[in-house]
Amino acid sequence: MWVLSITAALVAVAVTGEAYGQSATPGGMPPPTGMSLAESTAMRFPQPVRVGQLLHRDVLQPVESQNVLGTVREVVQDKSGTIEVVINFGGFLGFGTRPIAVPVDAMVLLGRDMEIVAYTPQQLQKFPTFMPSGSSRLPDDTIIKVGLAKPSH
């Protein structure tokens, strides 16, 4: 009997705790349907950042638990001029990752990390493995502009 009451109380805490912890205006929302990635970046007060500063940063999922999806390997520019961030994606504790290229306009800067706002982890799983031919690596001193977001927790 007392087990039931304890469980009920814990469930009550879990439900109310989660509702309170999640912000009323969560950070890192995906761009609204129909908006291009470039437009959504433009709404996020993009800031200049040195490419060298982005290397090895954690790439987070914009949810309260801020799961680490991977780390930044390099920043490249493809033939059409699109800047992409190559991420060592997935795996476990850094093992078994594969590189994928995510457009920088699908991402935001979040303090000392980055975050992917335009794609869910499920969508990212379907990204093709990055092939270096066809893109050129941007030197560390290059300044690029990346949008911002509020933390998700």
């Binding site: 309170y20 912000s23 950070g27 200049p48 950042v49 800067l109 979040l110 303090g111 000392r112 933390p151």
Partner: protein, 257 residues
């Protein structure tokens, strides 16, 4: 093992059938009672916003007591750790009670810092006026109540210098801030006078960018992040407790580091 209190002659077990419903109802009452008391305990963890008024008052009293203890512990002569400029995070981390798309940039040319309260010279200030005062740069850790931090560099007039210049009453208790994004805030006078408290207009040697509080924000090394309002538009020196945005939502007021 037989209980010492067991009667030599046991009652008829059929008696239990008559009283079984009563026994079951007693157990149910215990469950409800137990559930309520544990539920009340759960509510005191602070996650549930709807608390009985008496609990709310008690928690607030304890919070105010904590503030007094922190104020006693505060040493106005102790400096927060500083760091080399090479460790400054560029750009800094954005945070607000809304996401970055809702930042409303301030027109720097039209911006005036309004003054009120226990201040002798209440004339409004422009950005250029503020920049004409002596400037100080601090490279310190911004520490958020949420548990993250980063090292940043801010420059601006030391708040003490500014308050002396406008003839503020330095014995007053509070300094209150109004901002362009409806984020009222206030700090104690002792922290306002601390040497590592600035009215910052620059970050990492460049003008504060729009998402980070342009044209001016409070920057102190001795308080948690949420006590450093951005896009400041007005300052008041007062002896009446001004409160703040997060304080109204249950967060501590002193929030010292």
């Amino acid at each position: 093992m037989k209980s010492r209190f067991r009667p030599n002659r046991l009652p008829d077990p059929a008696v239990l059938d008559d009283y079984l419903p009563l026994i079951k109802s007693l157990e149910r009452r215990g469950l409800i009672r137990g559930g309520i008391s544990l539920g009340a305990l759960a509510m005191l963890t602070g996650c549930d916003v709807e608390r009985p008024a008496s609990v709310e008052a008690a928690l607030l009293a304890i919070s105010r007591f904590n503030d007094k203890v922190q104020a006693l512990l505060f040493n106005p002569n102790k400096l927060a750790p500083t760091y080399p400029a090479s460790m400054i995070l560029k750009p800094p981390k954005f945070n607000a009670y809304y996401d970055v798309m809702d930042v409303k940039p301030v027109d720097g040319a039209k911006w005036r810092l309004e003054l009120s309260g226990l201040i002798a010279d209440k004339r409004p200030w422009t950005i250029r006026d503020l920049q004409a005062l002596p400037q100080r740069t601090i490279v310190i850790k911004h520490i958020c109540v949420e548990g993250w931090s980063y090292i940043g560099g801010w420059s601006g007039v030391p708040f003490r210098t500014f308050l002396e210049y406008v003839g503020a009453d330095l014995r007053a208790k509070y300094v209150a801030f109004k901002t362009a994004d409806n984020y009222p805030s206030s700090i104690d006078m002792a922290s306002a006078l601390h040497p590592q408290t600035l009215l910052a207009t620059e970050y990492a040697g460049e003008t504060l960018a729009d998402p980070f509080g342009y044209p001016m924000r409070l920057r102190t090394a001795v308080k948690l992040g949420y006590k450093n309002p951005k896009w400041v538009t007005a300052i008041e020196v007062t002896n009446k407790y001004p409160g703040g945005y997060w304080e109204s939502r249950g967060f501590p007021w002193f929030a010292g580091l």
